[in-house]
Symmetry: none
Subunit: 450 residues, 2 copies
C-alpha cells in the first residue's frame, strides 16, 4: 500500500441488515462518495446490534484504514449501541455533550414535544470525540479517533471514525456537509471528479462509443479514469482524476476528457452533476416560460411524483390526471369509449396514448402533456400485448392560443424486468421524449423502443 | 457463543461492489435464506478483487463461522480470483475437475461456441474440494473446508465454504438446489422470526410501550428478542427466537411475545411481514368491494404511485387528480375560487383539503377519496403557514347511491425534514388515516398531528 493513498472502510450496523430484512443502500452510497473524494475503499462490513462484534470490527478496520464511516445504531433505544462501541474502541468514557443536548431538545421543542430520558442518551459522546450536527433527525453523529499501537504491523496508526444515523435522509446531508470537510487529505494529492448523464443507450453501447477512454490504466498514464454506472435507465459517466497534477492542470485534463465523452455520447447526453431528467426538463420549460401536464395510466403517479419531487416545480408543472380506469380515460381526457371497448385498439395502444396526451393538453390547459399507458405486470398481459408493452405520447400546443392541431410524438416500447422496473423506465422514457423536443435534438430512437 | 448455534458469514466479492458502482443485493438475499434455514448470520463482508484481502477475509471468518457463503469472483477473467482464494485458504492446489469441464464444454457447445483456454479455468477446483453445478451459466460453484487449528480460541474449527457466481439468476437456484441440502445443521437448534409494523408513533414512544420486552438479554432467558427499526414513519418491531426449544414451543413463545407487542402497540399496529400501509389499505378495500381515489397537491403523485406500485391495485384504485395549480383545484374538484384568493383560507387549509376530498369523490366516482395539500418546501412558507404544514382529508360516501353528505375526517400535521421527507410522511399519513377508517379503529392522533 502506497502511503499517498487514503484508505477507507464502511461499516453498516443493524440486526435488520444482517438478517436480510432490510436492503443496505448506505454502503454503496458512501462508497461512491468516498471514491469521488479520492479515498480507496478497502472493505464494507455489516454487523449486528452486538457490542462485541461492532467493537471488534472497528478495531480490526482501524488497523488498516485511515477513515471508517459507520451508519446505524445511533437511535434512542437499547439496541442502538454505536455510541458505546465508539467509546470503547477509543478507550473513552461517554459524556453528555451540552451543545448536542440543546440540539436534541430543540428538535423536540420545535415539534411541541418534551425530551424523555431515553432521548437524552442521543446527546452522549465519547469524552475525546465530537458530535456531528443532524438537521433532519434527533440523533447527532459522532466523530472519534481510534489509535492502533505500534507493533509488528508497523508504527502507531490513527484512524478517524465517523458514525452517522442509518436513515439516508439524515445520513446523506450529514456526510456531505460535515464529514467530507473533516477528512485529512494527503498533501500534494489532487482529486477531481465529474459526472455526465445519458439516457436512451445501453451501458455496453455507450462503452463502445467511449472506446479507449475507458481503459483501466488511465490513471497510471496521468489521465482521468472514465467509468460508467447504470441506474434505472440513466447511464452515468464518471470522470475521476487522481494524481500529482496541480488543481488547474487536473481541471484542464478533465475538460479535455469531458469533451471526448460528450463527442461519444452525442445527443443521448442530457445533463451533468446533480441533474436528473426531471430537473433538466423543468429547467428547459422554465427557460421557455412553458408548462407541462401529465396523463398517467400504468405509471399511476410515478412520473408526476418525479417532477414534483423537485423544489420549484410548481412554476412549470400544472398538474396531472391518473386515468387508471377506462371510465376515467373517457371522462377526464375524452378517449372515445368505442376505442376502449371490444374490437377497439384498447387501452394500451397508439390511439389511446395519443388521445390521452391531446386530451390532457385540453383538460389541464398546459403547453405540453405527456401520456403513458402500458402493461406493468405481473398480470394484465393480452394476446399481442405482453407485460412490458408501453405506449408513450407527447403532445405540445403549436400556438399560444392553442387553436391549431397539437404536435404529437407517439412511440411504443418493450420494457423489461418487474413491475417496478417497467414503471420506472416508462416514466424516465417519457421525460426523455419531452427532453428531446425541448432541447431541439433529433428524436433519436431510445433504448427499448420497438 | 453456545456450541448449539450454527453461525454463518456472507462474503461478496468485486471491485464494482466495493467502489459502489453496483448495489449488492445478494448478501441480503442470502441472509434471508440462511436465517430461514436456522443459521445465525454473524456478518456480511464485501471485499475487492484482491487475492490477499479475500484470503484474509475467509481465514478470519472461518475462525468463528461454521458456514461461509461467498458470491462473485468465479468468472473467466484475470480479476476473478475466488478459485485461487479458496484453494489458498484451504492449503490446497487447484486441479481440473473432469465433470465440471464436461459441463462447461457442454454449455458452450449448446450455444454453438467452442471452449477457450480462458473458459477452461472455470473447471478448476481445490484438490480436496468439490464443484457445485450451475444450470444457468458457465461458472460452476465450489465447496471446500477451511480448518482453523486449535489454539487459544479453542479446539480446531471446521468451516464449510460455498463459493457461488455473482449473477443472481445463477446464484439463487444454485444456493437453493445445491447449497442448502449440503448444510450440516446442528440438531435441536430452532430459529423463528416475525415482524410487525406500526405507524403513527415515534420509535422511542413505541419502545416505552414495549418496555422490558426489548431487553437485550431476552435470548439468554430463553425468550424472543424484540427490536425496532424506523423507515419513513413506519416503525417495525422484529421478533426473533433462537434456542433449543422445539419448533412448536418456539412458535408458541413467539405467539406470546407477539401478543404482548400487539398489546403495547395497540391501534398503531397495521400489518405484519411484507405488509405496507398501501397494501393493507388496498386489501381492506378489496374485502369491502370498495375503491379509492386521490387528490394530491404537495405530494404531486407520490401517494398514487405508492398505491399503483402494488400488483392488482387497479381493482381498488380508480384514479387520481394532481391539482398542483390553484386553477386545477377549482376546475377539477370544485374548490371555490374565493377560498383560494386574497382573504380566503388559501390552498393549504382545512377548507381546501375538505373541498378537494369531497370534490374528488364526485369527480372520480369512488367510495373514498383522500386529499393532501401542504407546503413541502424549501420555498412556499407563508405567515402562519410554515414549511411542513400539511392538511389531509379523507372523504367517504355514506351510501351506495352517494346521495347523503360524505363522511369527512380532516386533520392538520406539521411534518419535519426536507421536501422528500415532508412528502413521504404526508403520503403515508394519508394512508394511515384511511386505514383507521377502514379497519374500524378509533381515529387516534398520529405522530406530527397538531
Amino acid at each position: 500500500m502506497s502511503s499517498t493513498h487514503q484508505f477507507a472502510a464502511i461499516v453498516s450496523v443493524g440486526d435488520e441488515l444482517v438478517l436480510g430484512q432490510t436492503l443496505d443502500t448506505n454502503a454503496r452510497w458512501l462508497a461512491q462518495r468516498l471514491t469521488d473524494a479520492g479515498l480507496v475503499t478497502l472493505e464494507h462490513v455489516t454487523v449486528p446490534d452486538d457490542l462485541d462484534a461492532q467493537v471488534q470490527a472497528f478495531a480490526r478496520l482501524a488497523a488498516s484504514a485511515d477513515v471508517i464511516v459507520c451508519s446505524g445504531g445511533l437511535g434512542p433505544t437499547s439496541d442502538d449501541l454505536t455510541r458505546q462501541v465508539l467509546a470503547r474502541a477509543m478507550g473513552d468514557a461517554l459524556v453528555e455533550d451540552p451543545i448536542a443536548l440543546a440540539q436534541v431538545e430543540a428538535f423536540y421543542t420545535a415539534r411541541g414535544r418534551t425530551i424523555s430520558a431515553m432521548n437524552r442518551v442521543q446527546a452522549m459522546r465519547p469524552a475525546s470525540g465530537s458530535t456531528i450536527p443532524n438537521h433532519n433527525g434527533t440523533a447527532p453523529g459522532l466523530q472519534g479517533l481510534i489509535r492502533t499501537p505500534a507493533g509488528v504491523a508497523g508504527p502507531e496508526r490513527r484512524c478517524d471514525v465517523f458514525c452517522l444515523p442509518g436513515p439516508p435522509r439524515e445520513m446523506f446531508p450529514m456526510f456531505e456537509q460535515h464529514v467530507l470537510p473533516r477528512f485529512r487529505l494527503t498533501a500534494g494529492r489532487t482529486v477531481r471528479t465529474r459526472v455526465l448523464h445519458t439516457f436512451g443507450l445501453a451501458e455496453s453501447d455507450l462503452a463502445q462509443r467511449l472506446g479507449t477512454l475507458m481503459d483501466r490504466d488511465a490513471l497510471l498514464k496521468g489521465q482521468p479514469m472514465v467509468g460508467t454506472t447504470a441506474s434505472g435507465g440513466v447511464v452515468s459517466v464518471r470522470l475521476r482524476y487522481e494524481g500529482s497534477a496541480t488543481p488547474e492542470h487536473a481541471s484542464s485534463l478533465l475538460d479535455d476528457c469531458e469533451r471526448q465523452v460528450r463527442d461519444g455520447a452525442g445527443v443521448y447526453l442530457f445533463g451533468t452533476g446533480n441533474d436528473t431528467l426531471a430537473s433538466v426538463v423543468l429547467s428547459l420549460l422554465r427557460q421557455a416560460s412553458q408548462n407541462l401536464g401529465t396523463v398517467e395510466s400504468c405509471t399511476g403517479g410515478l412520473l408526476s411524483a418525479s417532477l414534483t419531487d423537485i423544489p420549484g416545480s410548481s412554476a412549470c408543472f400544472g398538474g396531472g390526471l391518473i386515468t387508471y380506469s377506462n371510465a376515467l380515460k373517457t371522462q377526464l381526457v375524452g378517449v372515445p369509449e368505442q376505442q376502449l371497448g371490444p374490437g377497439g385498439p384498447g387501452a394500451v395502444s397508439s390511439e389511446t396514448a395519443r388521445a390521452m396526451a391531446v386530451g390532457g393538453l385540453r383538460t389541464l390547459g398546459t403547453d405540453h402533456a405527456i401520456a403513458i399507458t402500458g402493461i406493468a405486470g405481473p398480470d394484465g398481459a393480452m394476446p399481442n400485448k405482453p407485460v412490458g408493452l408501453v405506449w408513450i405520447a407527447r403532445a405540445s400546443t403549436t400556438s399560444r392560443s392553442n387553436t391549431g392541431n397539437p404536435d404529437v410524438d407517439c412511440r411504443p416500447f418493450m420494457m423489461t424486468g418487474d413491475r417496478a422496473s417497467v414503471r420506472e423506465w416508462a416514466a424516465k422514457t417519457a421525460l426523455a421524449m419531452l427532453w428531446q423536443h425541448l432541447a431541439g435534438v433529433p428524436a433519436m430512437k431510445l433504448l427499448r423502443q420497438v
